[in-house]
Amino acid sequence: MGTLELSLLLWVGSLAAGLLGSLTGLGGGVVIVPLLTLAFGVDIRYAIGASLISVIATSSGAAAAYVREGYSNIRVGMFLEIATTLGALAGAFIAVYLHGHWIAVVFGVVLIYSAYISFAARADRESADATDRIATFLRMDSTYPSGGGMKAYHVRGVPGGFGLMFVAGLLSGILGIGSGAVKVLAMDRIMRLPFKVSTTTSNFMIGVTAAASAGIYLDRGYVDPGLAMPVVLGVLLGSLAGSRILSGARTRVLRLVFAIVIGSLAVEMIYNGITGRI
């Protein structure tokens, strides 16, 4: 296949990935690596390099829209970025010593988890009503827009959230994804932030996490311009279009379709990893 045809196909595929990722809230990054390795036969290192860069694009693009709405908690985000950047650096270093087979298997497991978490209940649980010593010291308690006005919330579980964020960064550095699902888990379940605050703060953090390992990937020659160009442009346009459509779209069916797609990609990644085809 010639460069022109390949670039066009990659662009269309990435556009679809960005659109679905944005509509379902899972992010386009999780499907870029399976798309490139399974459908286009790209080496997993090139695939991870292109994916990581496109993750920065979607995170920054979406965060630009979210920060204005006043949901994201800058202090929580910045404090936890210590953990995610440390994890991302460690992950990028470990990735060299991991064989492609193993990376494919780990990737499949994370995909299954992401598909599952996108279905888990999204109801806002009551935020902690008592103040937490560490969270108070770190001035993390804040407010968010809710119904009539600003609603105050308390943060808790800072050490647990911090630890899980290190894991999120580690996965991001090894797999070239945003690890949004793990980040939301840390903030929503452990630190008890309101759901919308968790998702927007997570999105805000993804770019910084990915930038930490991007330099190492670039230095190792994982980032191919010919491959990254159509992928980044496709994912970016797709996710921007997705965020425009989002208000009013019925996402329940869409999320089901995407979860099935991700589930089957996961099985294929694990199978190919175990049989040594990746």
């Binding site: 022109l4 860069i53 694009a57 950047t85 770019g207 311009p225 970016l236």
Partner: protein, 130 residues
């Protein structure tokens, strides 16, 4: 330290600037990547690239100083890579701006937190070479 209301107000203004910063970074980067991409396709659109085997990129497309050099020399792949570097620099610029925003609030704890994040980022970008 400034009062809670004042802190919220400053936070709000910082968030607006961060939003503009992120959007500008992404748009400039996408424009540079698109420009380089068009040149790249004109140049080598008929070639048959093979991404099945990993060879790694040449030094001209790996090291920051060399990427700028090949971009300025008009190499399409170098221009794309330069656009990708701008993308990677966008969150870094966001963190640098946050240092300044916390400094204005005289929030020394978060100035330190943000400086630590910045140091880790710069380490990954500049120091962690093989």
């Amino acid at each position: 330290m400034v009062g809670a209301v004042n802190q919220k107000e400053l936070d709000k203004r910082a968030e607006i600037v961060i939003g503009i910063l992120l959007r500008t970074g992404v748009l400039v980067s996408a424009a540079v990547v698109l420009f380089g991409g068009v040149l790249y396709l004109i140049d080598s659109g008929a070639q048959h690239p093979d991404y099945r085997a990993f060879r790694g990129e040449p030094a001209t497309l790996r090291q920051i100083s060399q990427i700028f050099r090949s971009a300025l020399a008009g190499d399409p792949a170098g221009i794309i890579q330069c656009g990708l570097l701008i993308l990677v620099a966008t969150p870094v610029a966001r963190v640098i701006f946050s240092v300044w925003a916390f400094l204005r609030e005289r929030d020394w704890m978060y100035v330190s937190v943000t400086l630590l994040v910045l140091a880790l980022l710069l380490y990954g970008l500049l120091a962690a070479h093989s």
